[in-house]
Symmetry: C2
Subunit: 848 residues, 2 copies
């Protein structure tokens, strides 16, 4: 078996002298401390990958791993301790009694701590996997160092791991610096505007500002944690894939997802609820809880703002690298994906971790925080009759969701472990379905336990009161959960190559890239139909059952199995990266085949997850809009002026209608900005890679004698994403703010609804078009060369690659970020509702 040497091999040969001692220690170490380079001091003194080797000199990998863990503690523990401390000190003054074991507080904190402990446990299990190649293929080779040489492979694996880690860490550091600056400035803006808007009630200004910062920090921590866990687990998934059978590698990737999923959910409700308890010290009486919940909306805004930067920044990073690498590597030079000779390949792998994991983590955290805030704001009056436990029912639902997800996760890891390739997708789907099914009785029980037998809520429109029962509330949550699953399964139908749509798309590649594009866009547009009808039904059902409170509960229902959803969402990029590492480390092809199979299942289920995310975002936005309307009504009633929105929001108001159309334009403008950013960054990347190929003519040899400059590509992605994420994020944040300040609340209503309507459609269609193109390409790649679709390398495949490349920004940058567009605009309007009203009684500065 003659094979070419890769640049990575060049470096691995140089390593050979140091391997023996490393290996010895690596195999013996276990436990929390990762075995990676437990005593690999000086392994960067070799030529390495050329990745920042100047900075890394002298640092051992063990130190890095420890530092990583200590960072997690540094970022996450202090706020937890801070808020827990606050709560513990002040709790005696609240009405919380220690006898009440089944109070909302114990359930919520119990679930949160359980989730965090569970996440830690999963992490420890992953950490037990030593980073070392099993050398399974050694017997096949003799003589020269080859990819199956376990020691050289181990060294390469460690090097790649390190390179990805460094790239991801340095990007997130850079990104979060920008975010931190934004958070500080915007916290000041919030403090001033809210205080002014509420007649210099500085307490409300401060609390809102505080919860904003807390939300932002939690969001960043979620993203950072996710990246950390993903990078840490990728290489271990690759290694597990070397072992026989499917259980080990699937479980590794699945547990990596679980760490993120449970940690984020646990952290999210813990922080939120602790903040509520802390605020309750200032607002002890039930009639004051309306202010408490209003201040809490800052938490959602904080989470969402960081999500915007994270999704857009990470999305641009990952897709610039991916598209760039694809264009040069596959289209121009015909080298395979993740080939180490392609200089953009490390940036591509880094991107998976910062975009698909960190960005998505922040996104879903934002959804969760906003959905809960919306439900609390709308439902705060329940506290008047039902007490604190009834009011925090939405948080209880999320807590119950955590427990349900945890129980169901045993199905995948213990009850029915994955034994075959076909079992992978089934296992993931079973997770989603089982959690949804188990949520139904759980929610009913929770509603009966925590909600009063009957409670009144003020209707959003008119002066009627709506009388509700626990079962009705539970029904709204259940409608949401089932709606989410339905949308997810429809999404799967349109994006999986098991079904007709993607196969038709693959057929369309026969007549070239143009028909592939036409069919793909048409597929995305068509895939909107059923999800939108489902969404409309859920909206109608929950709205007419429990007014706006029902809509917010349905949104929480969509997110009720968030921990599972996140697990699956993280699982995908981990497998993707594991495959990339296998390719770069030149492991035996069967390893890559295995990770590809894991990834393919992940792609499909990730599409399902996106369906959940978009559906929930739409409901959350509507609920937030409802809360906005309620707050404006209250503000006008309190001011003694004409009560605004008493008869609802009239769309035949000139200003409202004008802004309905403008709102509909926002997602298009946003998609244009982000897509163009990806295109621009990808073109820069292509130029750079082309330059390297031109300047280093031997880079593409079978046995290359030159090494690509990976750092240059990482720098391009980093620079481009930081530069390009600011304008779209600014647009989304400033538009509702300026509209409210200058044009008033009628204009804001139009803006929010218009943007909601268009965002839903565009988000679903872009995500599905992208997913379908990706899977059509994969379907063609699986075809035999003499078959109808001609397989890899044919003209049909090339046409499919064009679709896949266009689909990248569709499905991973613009599409998912549109969720955040609608939510962020809505939550921002809600936070500043009083401020908007303060300008000419809601008429804005122009008072048109």
């Amino acid at each position: 078996m003659s094979r070419r040497k890769s640049p990575l091999e060049l470096s691995s040969e140089a390593f050979q002298g140091q391997i023996d001692e490393q290996q010895a220690s690596a195999t013996t170490s276990s436990g929390i401390l990762p075995p990676i380079g437990a005593s690999q001091g000086g392994n960067r003194s070799g030529p390495g990958l050329g990745l920042g080797s100047d900075k890394a000199d002298g640092k051992t990998l063990a130190m890095k791993a420890r530092r990583g863990l200590s960072r997690i503690c540094k970022y996450i523990l202090p706020p937890i301790i801070l808020v827990l401390g606050t709560f513990t000190i002040f709790s005696p003054s609240s009405e919380f009694t220690k006898d009440d074991v089944f109070s909302a507080t114990t359930v919520i904190f119990g679930a949160a701590i359980l989730a965090l402990v569970w996440a830690l446990l999963q992490f420890l299990i992953i950490a037990r996997i030593p980073v070392q190649s099993n050398g399974a293929g050694v017997s096949e080779e003799t003589g020269l160092v080859s990819s199956t040489d376990s020691e050289a492979t181990t060294a390469r694996l460690i090097e790649i791991y390190e390179a990805i880690y460094e790239g991801a860490e340095s990007f997130l550091r850079a990104e979060y610096s920008v975010c931190a600056l934004f958070v500080i400035c915007f916290a000041a803006v919030i403090f001033v505007l809210i205080s002014w808007g509420t007649g210099w009630d500085t307490a409300r200004g401060f609390f809102t500002s505080f919860s904003f910062v807390l939300g932002a920090i939690t969001s960043m921590a979620s993203g950072y944690l996710g990246m950390k866990v993903a990078v840490y687990s990728n290489v271990r998934t690759t290694i597990s894939a070397q072992k026989p059978g499917w259980t080990a590698c699937f479980n590794t990737a699945f547990r990596a997802g679980a760490v993120m999923g449970f940690a984020l959910c646990g952290l999210g409700i813990f922080m939120l609820y602790a903040t509520m308890l802390a605020f309750r010290v200032h607002y002890p009486a039930p009639e004051q809880w309306v202010y408490l919940t209003e201040c809490l909306t800052g938490y959602g805004l904080g989470g969402s703002s960081i999500a915007m930067f994270g999704r857009v920044g990470g999305g641009i990073y990952t897709k610039a690298a991916d598209v760039g690498a694809d264009l040069v590597g596959k289209v121009v030079h015909g080298i395979p994906e993740d080939d180490p000779r392609n200089p953009a390949t490390i940036a591509d792998n880094v991107g998976d971790n910062v975009g698909d994991v960190a960005g998505m983590g922040s996104d879903l955290f934002g959804s969760f925080a906003e959905a809960t805030c919306a439900a609390l704001v709308i439902g705060n009056s329940i506290g008047l009759t039902g007490g604190w436990d009834a009011m925090v029912f939405p948080v209880v639902v999320s807590a119950v969701g955590i427990v349900v997800c945890m129980l169901c996760s045993f199905i995948a890891t213990h009850i029915s472990p994955v034994k075959s390739e076909a079992g992978v997708e089934t296992a993931l789907k079973v997770q989603l379905i089982s959690t949804t099914v188990l949520m139904i009785p759980s929610v009913i029980l929770a509603a009966k336990a925590f909600l009063p037998n009957s409670f009144d809520l003020k209707a959003t429109v008119g002066n009627d009161m709506v009388t509700l029962t626990p079962i009705e509330a539970a029904l709204c949550v259940i409608m949401g959960a089932i709606g989410g699953l339905t949308i997810g399964l429809i999404t799967e139908y349109y994006t999986s190559h098991t079904y007709k749509p993607v196969r038709e798309l693959a057929d369309a590649c026969k007549t070239g890239a143009a028909t592939n594009m036409i069919y793909g866009i048409a597929l995305g547009y068509k895939s909107v139909i059923i999800p939108v009808i489902v969404l409309a039904s859920v909206i109608y059902g929950s709205f007419s059952l429990c007014d706006m409170y029902g809509v917010s509960l349905a949104a929480i229902g969509f997110l009720s199995n968030l921990a599972t959803g996140l697990t699956i969402d993280v699982y995908g990029p981990v497998c993707d990266n594991a495959g990339g590492i296998a390719e770069m480390a030149e492991l035996e092809p069967y390893v890559r085949d295995k990770t590809d199979a894991l990834d393919a299942a992940g792609n499909t289920t990730a599409a399902i997850g996106k369906g959940f995310a978009i559906g929930s975002a739409a409901l959350v936005s509507l609920a937030l809009f409802g809360a906005f309307v309620t707050r404006i009504r209250n503000a006008s009633a309190e001011a003694g002026a004409e009560e605004l929105f008493l008869n609802g929001v009239n769309m035949l108001e000139p200003l409202t209608f004008a802004f309905l159309i403008i709102g509909g334009m926002i997602p298009f403008a946003f998609a244009a900005m982000t897509m163009k950013s990806v295109g621009l960054a990808a073109m820069e990347m292509v130029m750079e890679v082309q330059r390297q190929f031109d300047e280093k003519p031997h880079l593409l040899d079978e046995n290359p004698t030159e090494r690509p400059d990976y750092d240059a590509c990482i720098a391009i992605s980093t620079k481009a994403s930081l530069r390009e994420m600011v304008p779209p994020a600014t647009m989304v944040i400033l538009t509702p703010l300026l509209t409210g300040i200058f044009f008033g609340v009628n204009a804001v209503s139009g803006l929010l609804v218009g943007s909601l309507i268009a965002s839903v459609q565009l988000a679903i269609s872009m995500s599905n078009s992208g997913g379908a193109w990706d899977n059509a390409k994969k379907y063609i790649e699986k075809a035999a060369p003499d078959s109808d679709l001609q397989g890899k390398g044919s003209d049909i495949h090339k046409a499919a690659v064009v679709g896949d490349t266009v689909g990248d920004p569709f499905k991973d940058t613009s599409g998912p970020a549109l969720n955040i567009v609608m939510k962020l605009m809505a939550v921002l309007s809600l936070v500043f509702a009083d401020t908007f009203y303060a300008f000419n009684n809601g008429g804005g500065i122009f008072n048109l």
Copy 2:
């Protein structure tokens, strides 16, 4: 100069024997009867183009031309005479006095007749051009028959003309058979539903049904007339392009446009107004005019329904052929556009006439009819204080527009004729700008002359009356006219290669088709921003100035220079076809260069025209929606039940909101269906062409010895478009109908507004993406081979061709048809408003 022989030449050689006598007569004939084959009997007895030669045997071209003209008379004159007759008989009973020379009636009929006469005059001028090659190039060649041989060329020109004519005629006949069936059935539905909905007021049912049929017939006549004129003029434009200078060829194409523009406008207002006068016989009292205008809405519905079929059917036809021809011809085999060896080339040229001319004519006629109906319905109460002349002010504006457009057309043909290539675009732009500018004083004068000094209108929301002055009404029209021009010029910025966006797009082709796609879609989305803001401003301005009446007047303002807009819109495809004919007839390259230059300018101005069309569609839809709300209010007030929509349309009504989202989905579903139809038909076309190339291996030789089977391709386009136009049209027609019947008026409100919001964005972005891709390709084609963009045939050009191909259905099928989606749904709801109310007082059968 050695050149290959085309299949057309093969046939032209066979013709040689017959040419002399034909030529002699062709040069001598002139006047109305077209000189084409004035005595060419039996010219189809030769082998011909292989285009339906079996059917055509024995028919002379002169007969065909005469038959064409007689058809125009058959389709158009009878209804005119019918209605004119009705009017003349009954007019003494109306309050029309013959002394009142400046009454609305004289102005409207005067302008209509002027327009028709003017169109006839332009047609006569075109008809004077004999179809014969000038043989300018004969001296260059000796010996063998070549393209510059004037006699052979003439024969070829005639053959091509005939082939296109036959294809277009047979397609329209097939299409209109489907339409006729629909019209008959739907007229019955209208009669029954309206009669039932108005408590068996069969007069209203009959009048609505009658005006529906009339609108449909007028729309079909417009489309048919447009196709006729275009086919008739294409070949004459080619011939004029052989003459030195630019004036002759520009004027020919321009006059062809003018025939269509003025004939359609004249016919439109004539029929509409005559119908109104006829209805007034039944409803003589001003307080009955509300029923008169309500019955008249059927006219708009008829126009719009046919427009839907025409736009979609024609759009699929033309783009299936175009995309198919491009894919095989350019992408697979590298032969130039319109090369006669490509079997799909005749179908492509037929498509230009049935899609871009006939379809677009029906579309704009629909816009005009609906805008006027909306304004009349909303403004009918003006008649109570201001009399008939004040009430029909919207029709007067259109009449004034005709005169203005006529005056301004002299600028292009006489005052400042086109002398150079650069002058073409200027001349067309001057037309648009000058008509808009001249409309301003004209509208003010008309308003002062026909509107009372102050008049009251009932506000759409609440019980207030809005008091208006003529100047305010005129201002709304002017805002519309200026808004339209602004949107048009922005559209030009995004789609003309004179400016940055298209040049950036051309640059993006350097890195392949994928970046071209990403940039192109982003460009389209971005181009939405300013038009939407302009539109929102016009809506806000006109709405707050004159309530919904203002919006409808602004819509009429958008369409006030419709005759000019149509002229330019038809001008484009005529030049495009002229170029195709030049290529197929293998005329000297300079002819093709000239027609290409004419076409390029036409492309840009056509983009401007699309801007007008989309903007006006949005305003028309809003105005129709306003009229719908007013009618529901009236219906509920008359029924003595709770007055619906008294406080406006509340979007926080569960059903309304659910349908807002569903409405937003409709344009996406529609775009998906139409795009996929184009993709499907194009793939069928590619397969067919490929089959011919495979079965006839000598088809692609330099001097082909085999002839392509053009008929097979025409059959594919025809079959595909007739098959595929039904589902999307049915969806658009049934959705509001079923929504209203089952879910009631709240649901319909949401549906209409949601669809309006999403359609506007999607229509603008799709049209502009498509236009930009087309022009980026043209820009690259113009580049020198050693330049940055490498010019024709390079990889960069290939990437651009992919974009152009994807853009075809964007800009010519789905994008423009979305205008009709929103208008048709709105006008349909308006027509059936009373019927919807009759189900459970507007609650629908489900009464949710």
